[in-house]
Amino acid sequence: MIVSFLRPALTVLLTLCREAEARGTETHAYFLGWRSLEECIVNTVLRAGSPIEQAALTRPDYAASAVAMQPYLDRGEILLGEAHRHAGLIGPSAGDRATLLSIPAQFEHYLAVVVTTFGDERKPVITAHTAEDGVIVEHEVRTAENAYLAHLPAPSLRVLHIGAGSGGCLVATQACKLPLRHLTILDGDDAEERNLARHLLTSKAVGKSKARMLAQYLRPRARMPITSIHRTVTPASRSRIAQLVSDHDLIINATGHPPTSILLSEICAQLRRPCIHAGVFARGSGGFVFTQTPDGPCYACLYDLQRQQTTEDADTLDALTRQYGYTEADLQAHLGLWADVNLIASVQAKAILEFLKRGDDPRRPNLYLINNDTLAITSRRVQPHPACTCQEAA
């Protein structure tokens, strides 16, 4: 893990340590900020009340600190750990190590930061350690210019990307640059002439499998192996799709097709696989991106949003004409549709990135709504719908 201090927080910490050095005592501070899987950023250094600060021992003022922390916790920061000073001794002492190992398990990745001052012109040395499974682990300490958590873990996820259409090809182009272990592209359609106005593929792909041609396009641009599967997601292929879902760690639903999305959502809920869905509203007016995680809401919990979606596949063009007054001629004339789809695809790619960084963080939004008219993106944390069948399964 990388421990990054924002400069104002670092200034506060070093000031506290210089003052303690002048007194000849230890000093104590809590620090708060934000954390992802690979990084934490310290935004607030908090020395509250009257901590015990003796020559070689320090203990927090729990009462004053808990009250002082409340506003920071209320605005979304979390308690990352504690800092104290050493004179000349770099890193945690034997007593510090014992304290770190005795911290209860519910305080996961709790940081012990030691600021070592030397009483001369040497700059202070800052170390950061946690206890992981009974072992003291040292972490890299840096300064950060802003609070954006940017570091990603090493490749470990096998991703199943379903849908190689106008949005899916854009999402996959982003996904293939991320640190993933493997990327599988699944789609049951062949490329058609009418797709080309809204697709990365060229006329050479017409009549050929979209999945295979997209995988071919991505391989020279990718960081990981890419496999293609020419298969349609239908109730008839459910068991085969379930096997594929089971073989992967994260599912990307770029089909934009509500019935397919509901089927994928059921499979992912049963197999406890996270799935990032996306949908485009009628005429490309906007869309949504939804991250489904085990024990959280499923696609069917978003009933109202499904009703606004549309789809382009040949089987439902008749439905589009009846329901939305959207003819195939309209579709051909709507050359801006790919730019509109691109915005939803970009947000879906960003949701993949956030999942890589933070996993299923219950404090983060799981639903993004995109308005292509106003270019506004809003977010919220959706809870399971109490009447949804996913709650019966849970």
Binding site: E26, L57, R59, P60, A66, L89, G95, D96, Y110
Partner: protein, 73 residues
């Protein structure tokens, strides 16, 4: 069963301490502090669930840090 809201400062979630009112709160190096700063330290004295403020407590790890190589807890 009594339930006391428990704010976890390290993950931003709110849980519940559950049990019979006379049950001892676990002595696991955790200190509990209510909204007004009253501290409940199971390591210092036996704290039963009924002693905790009904509107909730925050939990913090009980820590002591040492300045020299030979100091131990």
């Amino acid at each position: 069963m009594k339930r006391i809201p428990l704010r976890d400062a390290t993950d931003g979630a709110t849980y519940a301490l559950e049990g019979e009112g006379h049950e001892l709160v676990p002595k696991d190096n955790t200190v509990y502090i209510d909204r007004h700063g009253k501290t409940y330290d199971p390591a210092q004295s036996n704290v039963v669930l009924d002693d905790l403020a009904a509107d909730g407590v925050m939990q913090l790890p009980r820590t002591t840090w040492f300045g020299g190589p030979s100091w131990i807890a």
